[in-house]
């Protein structure tokens, strides 16, 4: 069954590439980017599938037991725009075009230094024959990195000036997951790029796992009254667990529940809050109006202004 689905997927992406994208690239004189374009198209099609799966799962849940009901969902539309830009490959493609040359240079400089970047499998050779297990190891390591990345976003003043966009949403839904300033996205890429130099990038041949991870992250933002029970709450970040992180009393350096996928890091580093059995209102009361009310473009422009103010020390953290 899975093989049949994978085959149809390959045939569809192959057909779309051959009929639409590749002739266009040839016409534009961009054939030396054909391999990258194929990967990008794969990203786009898979991103589309991700969005559909997330919507199919999360929308009924939000309708079933919503934490909040709103007369207007206008603010949610902004988050829909964020998701489509991020998941349909538009922002990643712009980032790729802008930074590919720089990335090549940096990788070449690293190679020139004699450093051959290892992989996690270099340190744990038994993972070589078990790529699925290797992926699970990567998930744990990268989730640990994501936890600290997230803590720094809250702790460092100028970084919080950017990340506040993510927290300013007062109508938090599963669409909010991708609501980030592009500078914040670039910083995240640099953060995880540095980690990739140390342990490599995870294997990418398990799309179902990636789909489940994506679903879990989106679900954690969903406007749904849902927890995973006494044990489950300690294993996977639930909508309740993450809503506490987005609560109005949990912004900036006062935050709790920073975990992205695994709550265990909050447990270990003393930032977990498993006991609040309520579902607080979300938002950042100190965020500028544009962060709360604005559309994508207005929020991005405001983000540049706010980080400039923060760097000059004119913004309260």
């Amino acid at each position: 069954m899975w093989d049949w689905i994978a085959d149809r997927y390959d045939l569809f992406t192959g057909w779309a590439f051959e009929i639409v994208l590749q002739p266009l690239m040839y016409r534009l004189g961009l054939m030396d980017w054909a391999d990258e374009a194929f990967l990008w198209m794969d990203f786009l099609v898979f991103g589309l599938i991700q969005v559909v799966v997330v919507v199919v799962v999360c929308l009924p849940l939000e309708a079933w037991r919503p934490v909040e009901r709103w007369e207007s969902r206008r603010k949610v539309l902004t988050d829909v725009a964020y998701t489509l830009l991020a998941r349909l490959g538009i922002l990643p493609m712009i980032g790729f075009v802008l930074f590919f040359a720089a990335q090549s240079r940096i990788e070449a400089m690293i190679a020139d230094s004699g450093w051959v970047p290892p992989t996690l499998e270099t340190f744990l050779p038994f993972l070589r024959e078990e790529p699925f297990l290797a992926l699970l190891f990567y998930i744990v390591v990268l989730d640990f990195a994501a936890y600290w990345h997230h803590r720094f976003q809250h702790r460092i003043g100028w970084w919080w000036a950017l990340h506040s966009i993510h927290h300013a949403q007062t109508q938090m839904t599963f669409w909010t997951d991708d609501r980030n300033h592009i500078l914040d996205d670039i910083l995240a890429a640099a953060w995880f790029g540095a980690i990739a130099v140390l342990i490599g990038v995870p294997p990418g041949q398990f799309p179902i796992i990636l789909l489940v991870l994506r679903l879990a992250e989106s679900l954690s933002h969903a406007n749904v009254r849902l927890d995973f029970g006494r044990v489950g709450e300690r294993l996977i970040v639930s909508p309740r667990f993450h809503r506490l992180h987005h609560g109005v009393l949990s912004v900036g350096a006062e935050g709790k529940n920073y975990g992205v996928l695994l709550p265990v890091w909050d447990w270990i580093f003393g930032t977990a809050d498993f006991h609040r059995d309520h579902y607080p209102r979300t938002g950042d009361p100190s965020a500028p109006r544009a962060y709360v009310e604005g559309g994508w473009l207005r929020q991005q422009a405001a983000g540049f202004r706010e980080i400039w103010r923060a760097v000059r020390g004119k913004r309260a953290s």
Partner: protein
């Protein structure tokens, strides 16, 4: 006399094991091992990240697979597919041993580097920074020169392996990819155009060699030494080219983006279909063909002969059956067409090779 007879009998009596095709699935970090008789994938070998090209060691005992994303070379026993060893090196995209077996030259497409390693020890001897996207490697028959296509800058770089320096860089046309040494010249596929060009390394003169259609890509000498097979990506076809005259004899229309080609000892082609996750088998003598489902974005391919009397050395024993892009030694062809205004001498009617299902059997649609 009796001994000779016994040898002949043993040859005929020995069980003919099926050849093995090794297919590098660049999109899902695996190597498919395909039984060419049953056309079934019998094994998947996990690798670290992103495998693109492979080459046979000069002694024929190993198949060397470059994992560019994993910064690793994987040495496989071509008889069994068993992993013999792994070596960490920087970003091995395309790789070739020099004909004398002394050097291993590696092109790092994404790091703009060409590396020369001592083949036996894998010690890095020299690293060259290249202008943009070094893609494929070929050698002169005397092993003095390595030639590298530079995809991003539309050039071919000539690396002097003795002096260990780049001797010259020549413009050849937009987005050059595959390259072979062919009878004193280099044949280069231009992805940004419809044709392959011939570059004379002594004069650095560039002429159109033949036309295959939009997105000319890679070229491989057939085992008989009389035929070249060239692919085009956008047109999605394989052209059968006369090695002597460089005239396109036949064109096979093959959906799915044919990329690398390997041959078995009977002259059948095994081509990876990059965009549809398939390996295509085509017998150019009969026109029979079949497709086998492999992994995602299959790229490099190698066929290991396992019938009596043949081994991996087959890959470079027959006139055209060289490992990868090793040189074919033969007299240069008569005058090549001028660069501008070239039209193929004989209009070629394309032969459509249907996509077929992963389990489709060999068949000859145009007979």
């Amino acid at each position: 006399m009796w001994r000779a007879l016994l040898l002949v009998l043993a040859f005929w009596a020995a069980p003919a094991r099926a050849d093995l095709a090794y297919v590098l699935n660049s999109g899902d970090a695996t190597i498919s091992v395909v039984d060419t008789q049953t056309r079934a994938e019998i094994r998947r070998i996990p690798v670290l990240r992103e495998v693109h090209h492979l080459v046979v060691t000069p002694d024929g005992r190993s198949l060397v697979v470059g994992d560019s994303g994993g910064n690793e070379l994987i040495f496989l026993d071509p008889e069994s597919g068993a992993v013999q060893r792994r070596e960490r090196i920087s970003n091995p995209y395309h790789l070739e041993y020099s004909p004398d077996g002394r050097y291993l030259v590696v092109a790092s497409l994404r790091r703009d580097q060409v590396d020369i390693y001592e083949a036996a020890s894998l010690n890095l001897l020299q690293r060259f920074r290249q202008p943009d996207k070094p893609s494929h490697v070929a050698f002169s028959p005397d092993s003095r020169w390595a030639f590298v296509t530079l995809q991003g800058s539309g050039q071919v770089a000539a690396v002097d392996l003795e002096a260990r320096q780049t001797a010259w860089v020549q413009d050849v046309g937009p987005e050059p990819a595959g390259i072979i040494w062919h009878r004193g010249r280099l044949i280069v596929g231009l992805m940004g155009r419809e044709d392959f060009v011939a570059l004379d390394p002594s004069t650095r003169e560039v002429r159109i060699a033949f036309r295959v259609g939009r997105g000319a890509h890679t070229i491989f000498p057939g085992p008989d030494g009389r035929t070249l097979y060239a692919t085009s990506r956008v047109e999605s076809r394989i052209a059968e080219v006369d090695a002597e005259t460089l005239e396109v004899r036949r064109i096979f229309e093959i959906a799915g983006g044919p990329d690398c080609i390997a041959f078995d000892s009977e002259g059948r082609l095994y081509a990876t279909l990059r965009w549809t996750g398939r390996l295509m088998v085509l017998d150019p003598a009969t026109g029979e063909h079949a497709q086998i489902r492999v992994g995602r974005s299959p790229h490099g391919v190698f066929v290991m002969p396992r019938r009596p009397g043949l081994d991996a050395a087959f890959a470079f024993q027959f006139p055209g059956a060289r490992s990868g892009t090793r040189p074919m030694e033969a007299p240069p062809p008569p005058g090549l067409a001028a660069l501008d205004g070239y039209v193929p001498a004989v209009p070629v009617t394309p032969v459509r090779v249907e996509a077929g299902s992963p389990t489709s059997r060999l068949r000859a649609p145009w007979r």
